[in-house]
């Protein structure tokens, strides 16, 4: 018999569908009979969903420009290094 305590301990695995099949079905049976655990499951799922649903915001002003400038500098240094030194070309 799955208790509420067991359910809480396994809720994360249950949500990810990673509990072993036997346990998974016992946990499923538990929420059909236990309104408390059903509510906990439902609100945990919603918690994950609201975080997943948050779109990343725009970067603060100037941050993109700074990043590109730093990259460009590094990029130029990298290409210079890749070319043979001028004396070797003779």
């Amino acid at each position: 018999m799955v208790t509420c305590k067991d359910f809480l301990r396994e809720i994360s695995e249950f949500l990810d569908d990673r509990a072993d099949p036997q346990l998974q079905s016992e946990l499923k049976a538990h929420i059909t009979q236990c309104p408390n655990c059903w509510v906990i499951l439902d609100t945990t799922l919603k918690t994950i969903q609201v975080y997943k649903g948050m779109e990343p915001q725009e970067l603060p002003e100037g941050v993109h420009g700074q990043l590109m400038k730093a990259l460009e500098k590094r990029c130029a240094a990298k290409t210079k290094k890749a070319q043979p030194p001028p004396t070797a070309q003779k």
């Binding site: 994360s12 695995e13 990810d16 906990i40 439902d42």
Partner: protein, 207 residues
């Protein structure tokens, strides 16, 4: 995204990566534009600081550029980038605070039984709260978590890394990732329920 669009996106991404490996700066710029906002959010979520997040953003993209040849293409480029950014973020955290609350490897927290006190239903908070209000509620809740829980939650549930990828990125065992994820999810649920529950429409009881 539907699977066909996703695979087309990935193909086009591989082309950009190949070009960038040959020194095509424009191609790398396109990769940066694709992921910079997500990497910034990730860094800010972990470090809880705008300034640190800006540093991490820059260092991560510089490092990724330098090590692009080492990217083999078996993993998703984004997952690879996330690993670099997480390491940079954790270094910031460790540098900033030397107190033990930042330690990612302590094990004491796993002994406690998980708990759920707030038992009340809620629905569609997006409809009652503005985007800015939602962001504030979610930010406050995640800030209140200990770093050891916060980082695991962000990688698993926000960045959607697998349990195995998260474990590898953080140098934790699979069991530690699972245990921390469980506690992080329940603690956040507790806080969001306190904010979002319908007034006067509670409480069924205690577990």
């Amino acid at each position: 995204m539907d699977p066909i669009a996703a695979s087309a996106g990935r193909q086009d991404e591989n082309i950009l990566i190949e070009k960038a490996k040959k020194g095509d700066f424009e191609a790398y710029g396109q990769l940066v534009e694709r992921y910079e906002r997500k990497i910034y959010r990730l860094a800010r979520n972990i470090t809880q600081s705008n300034e640190d997040a800006e540093d991490v953003l820059q260092d991560a993209f510089l490092k990724a550029y330098e090590h692009l040849d080492g990217f083999q293409g078996q993993a998703r480029f984004y997952t690879w980038l996330v690993r670099i950014a997480v390491n940079e973020s954790l270094m910031k955290l460790r540098k900033r605070k030397s107190d033990r609350s930042v330690s990612l490897d302590e094990n004491i927290e796993t002994d406690e039984e998980p708990i759920a006190r707030e038992i009340a239903v809620w629905d569609n908070p997006e409809k009652q709260y503005s985007r800015a209000e939602m962001k504030q509620v979610l930010d406050e809740a995640i800030t209140s978590l200990k770093p050891i829980f916060r980082v695991v939650f962000i990688l698993r549930d926000v960045e959607e890394l697998s349990t195995e990828e998260t474990a590898e990125t953080l140098g934790l065992s699979i069991a530690a990732v699972k245990s921390r994820l469980l506690r992080a999810r329940l603690q956040l649920r507790e806080k969001l329920t306190r904010t979002f529950k319908r007034k006067g429409d509670q409480i069924l009881g205690y577990v």
